[in-house]
Amino acid sequence: MLRFIGKRVLMMIPVLLGVSLIIFTMMYFTPGDAADMLLGDSATIEQKEQLRNDLKLNEPYLVQYINYMKGVLRGNLGTSYSTKRPVTEELLDRFPTTVKLAGAGVLLSLCFGVTMGIISATKQYSIFDNLATSFSLLGVSIPNFWLALMLIIIFAVNWKILPPSGLSTPLHWILPIISLGMNSTATIMRMTRSSMLEVVRQDYIRTARAKGQKELFVILRHALPNALIPIITVAGLQFGRLMGGAVMAETVFSIAGIGKLMVDAIKLQNYPIVQGGVLLIAFSTSIVNLIIDILYAFVDPRIRSQYIKPKKTQTAGKGAVTNA
């Protein structure tokens, strides 16, 4: 198991290097630079040149990239051009908000998506199933930002029951989480439904029913665990997607998270913040994927057995596979 984790952690290195190289190159070749942006148009050419030297913007592309990566290895992501604060500080100020938002979004979609998916699958073609399926179709097709604006108009402007922006009280969280989680709720619901449908048709479920077990017990104890793998995969992917999708929710709801920080930084050509932000999001997505892979092992004894194989418990492992 440890070897597996170690291998996965090592695999993150080329991913992060690639991400950093791509984002650095894109920012480097964008016309205009931070000196223009920071000093505005009332500054003289000499002042801008001076600032370019101070910020080391005049150095060649590769030198700049290598310097940047050296800093990253030492945990130094540079200094924000606009606020002059360390990038790590700026990012860490806002990271928790984004993680909480994305986490709450995934949690919401897991609660509703899995529940609705299970009911839909067990009562296939019922009214509820049809309603839920059309809800999920709506959920997948409605653009997040449109939903967010609609929610604001309905709940904040017309009915005045929920605040339109910020995150200062628990009430403030409701609209952003719904608009962020809607899409993944629908995706997870669809995934749960199809995965459950496959499982409930299997022989061992019929056997369980034949033994006279209660339907609820059959579904939750026998069917669900076997349907979980694709659901967990999708939920993990959704978390990564929501980290990025938070850009939208944070902009519409004026929330100080990584996404909004990056949008503002892009407007100002504040490279260090953009690079740091992208790296952080890539890093956390990789970590979540790693956690998901480890979770597989806990959920599914077949996968767990593969990790344990080198530890001389081969027979038990193989047995588990054949039994299932």
Binding site: G32, D33, M37, L51, K84, P164, T251
Partner: protein
């Protein structure tokens, strides 16, 4: 059979969902009928008091004033930045040596009195016993230090170009002598500006320049209590303030970058004052219940600039043709809807020395004739670069269509500010927004040293600008700027399009609001009834 029933139920459900969403979305339009009197009261500052007194005899006031702010300040170090979004907050935290009254004459602030010793020397006598937020007493050394750093900090050195930071000296604890490199009649305007906020020398040196921007120490009516980056800035009243005690003990600047969201904050009562309202939001705000819109002429302008080093545009006939082909009245009406006026001068008429002209320049026939005379009877193609701001893009589209009438094709490209500025000499026509409270800073774009989009390279005008800047007598200075206006209005290096109003949205409960053309409100005078 069963299937058809299900599909009927489904379509009914879908239809219901759609209708309810639509109804909820449009519901807002019906409400203004009930409050038809609200817009009629707009602009009347007294409405707030009269309505609140009718419900209770002694109105109580909120202890927190909430401002919807359009952009997060990058720093609260007054000398490090000149952006209006920073200034809106720093003016609450810092005081300046002097302030300007409505006639632009200096009135005492941190300096009780002052005298002009010669053309380049000014002596200021400071108020005694003024305390910084950290308890230190204000001394002449703090003032000298502020001026010296303003001259070297890239964020303000171009504004303080004529100040001699090195030779500015302390005479005694409460007397400071400011030296200029050359005569500069805009000295009081510069000192009154946001970059003129007096900082505490000890605080800057202890914290370091960069950290100081996030932990400012001034002498102003409010001090920074908490800055949640990206969310809000909380200010509390300075209990040792030398002036009148602030009316409201706390101010919260909520950072809301989307203009529609700022309007929503106002509509839902989550903010008391909204700064920097866009023209497109005015109608909606005026309709809303319990809100009023205050606007007034400011220093903001939008102007089209021609690159004077471009071989085609250096011909005055081409520039005239382009100018005469633009119907500015139609543009201003369509884009600004009553929140701006057609530019009838080179600079906003609120500025000293702005001479006004007949704004009616539109004459397509004349434009065609001039273009033919210049040798472009068959037409011409122009590159026009515009920043991705809705207002500017709409103006540019209109101009593009108007120029088509005289056979000029326009290639419009959109570039973010930095990319826009980086184009430097290669762009032909540009459009810029600007705002400054002194003619010297407004006209700086026409100076050769400024380069940028105009690339004027004209020694004659440079001299006129430098001379006008150094005239201390108000009437003489005004006359000098009249001459410059004449020169530029004839030469057509640019075509000013509109002079824009500064717009605020306020809750009807706000009292003590005094309009400011730069979004730099005197918050200490404002209170909000419960």
């Amino acid at each position: 059979m069963k299937r058809r029933k299900v599909s009927r139920i489904m379509s009914l459900f879908l239809a219901l969902t759609m209708t309810s969403l639509l109804a909820a979305g449009c519901g807002q339009k019906s409400s203004p009928n009930g409050s038809a009197d609200a817009p009629a009261n707009a602009g009347n500052t007294d409405t707030g008091t009269s309505t609140s007194t009718s419900t209770s005899t002694t109105p109580t006031y909120k202890d927190t004033l909430t401002i919807a702010h359009w952009e997060e300040p990058t720093t609260l170090d007054p000398q490090a930045q000149g952006k209006m979004s920073c200034g809106a907050v720093t003016v609450q935290i810092y005081d300046t040596l002097i302030t300007l009254d409505e006639n632009k004459s200096p009135v005492p602030a941190l300096a009780e009195k002052w005298e002009q010793i010669d053309d380049t020397t000014f002596r200021f006598y400071l108020r005694e016993g003024v305390k910084f937020h950290n308890g230190d007493t204000l001394t002449a050394e703090d003032v000298r230090y502020t001026i010296a750093r303003a001259c070297t900090n890239p964020g303000s050195s171009s504004t303080y170009k004529s100040f001699d930071g090195e030779n500015t000296k302390v005479i005694d604890d409460l007397t400071v002598e400011i030296k200029l490199k050359s005569p500069d009649a805009s000295i009081f305007d510069t000192l009154n500006g946001q970059r003129g906020g007096i900082v505490c020398k000890r605080a800057v040196e202890e914290l370091g320049e960069d950290a100081y921007g996030h932990a400012p120490v001034g002498t102003g009516p409010y001090k920074l209590a908490e800055w949640q980056t990206g969310t809000e800035l909380r200010l509390v009243a300075n209990e040792n303030y030398w002036g009148e005690t602030p009316k409201t003990p706390n101010i919260v600047f909520k950072i809301i970058t989307e203009s529609a969201n700022r309007v929503i904050e106002m509509e839902t009562g989550n903010a008391d004052i909204c700064l920097n309202v866009l023209a497109s939001e005015v109608a909606r705000l005026e309709e809303a219940e319990g809100l009023r819109v205050e606007m007034g002429t400011g220093y903001q302008y939008t102007t089209v600039t021609f690159n004077m080093q471009d071989p085609v545009l250096s011909d005055i006939r081409v520039r005239q043709a382009l100018v005469f082909a633009i119907d500015r009245e139609a543009i201003v009406n369509a884009v600004y809807k009553g929140t701006a006026t057609v530019a009838d001068s080179i600079m906003p008429t609120t500025l000293l020395g702005a001479k006004t002209y007949d704004p009616n320049l539109y004459d397509v026939e004349k434009a065609k004739a001039l273009l033919a005379e210049a040798g472009y009877a068959d037409g011409l193609t122009i590159n026009f670069v515009v920043q991705p701001l809705e207002e500017m893009q709409r103006i540019t589209e209109a101009i593009q269509n108007m120029w088509k009438q005289i056979g000029v094709e326009t290639n419009v490209s959109t570039a973010e500010v930095a990319a826009y500025l980086a184009q430097g000499n290669t762009l032909q026509v540009g459009i810029r927004n600007g705002s400054a409270s002194d003619p010297a800073s407004t006209l700086i774009i026409y100076d050769s040293a400024f380069g940028d989009r105009l690339n004027s390279n004209n020694a004659e005008l440079d001299k006129m600008l430098a001379d006008a800047k150094g005239i201390y007598d108000v009437n003489e200075r005004s006359a000098a700027y009249h001459e410059i206006c004449d020169y530029l209005w004839e030469a057509k290096w640019s075509l000013p399009i509109a002079f824009k109003k500064t717009i605020y949205a306020l809750s009807d409960k706000v009292e003590g609001f005094e309009f400011d053309a730069m979004n730099y409100l005197e918050m200490e005078k404002i209170s909000v009834a419960e």
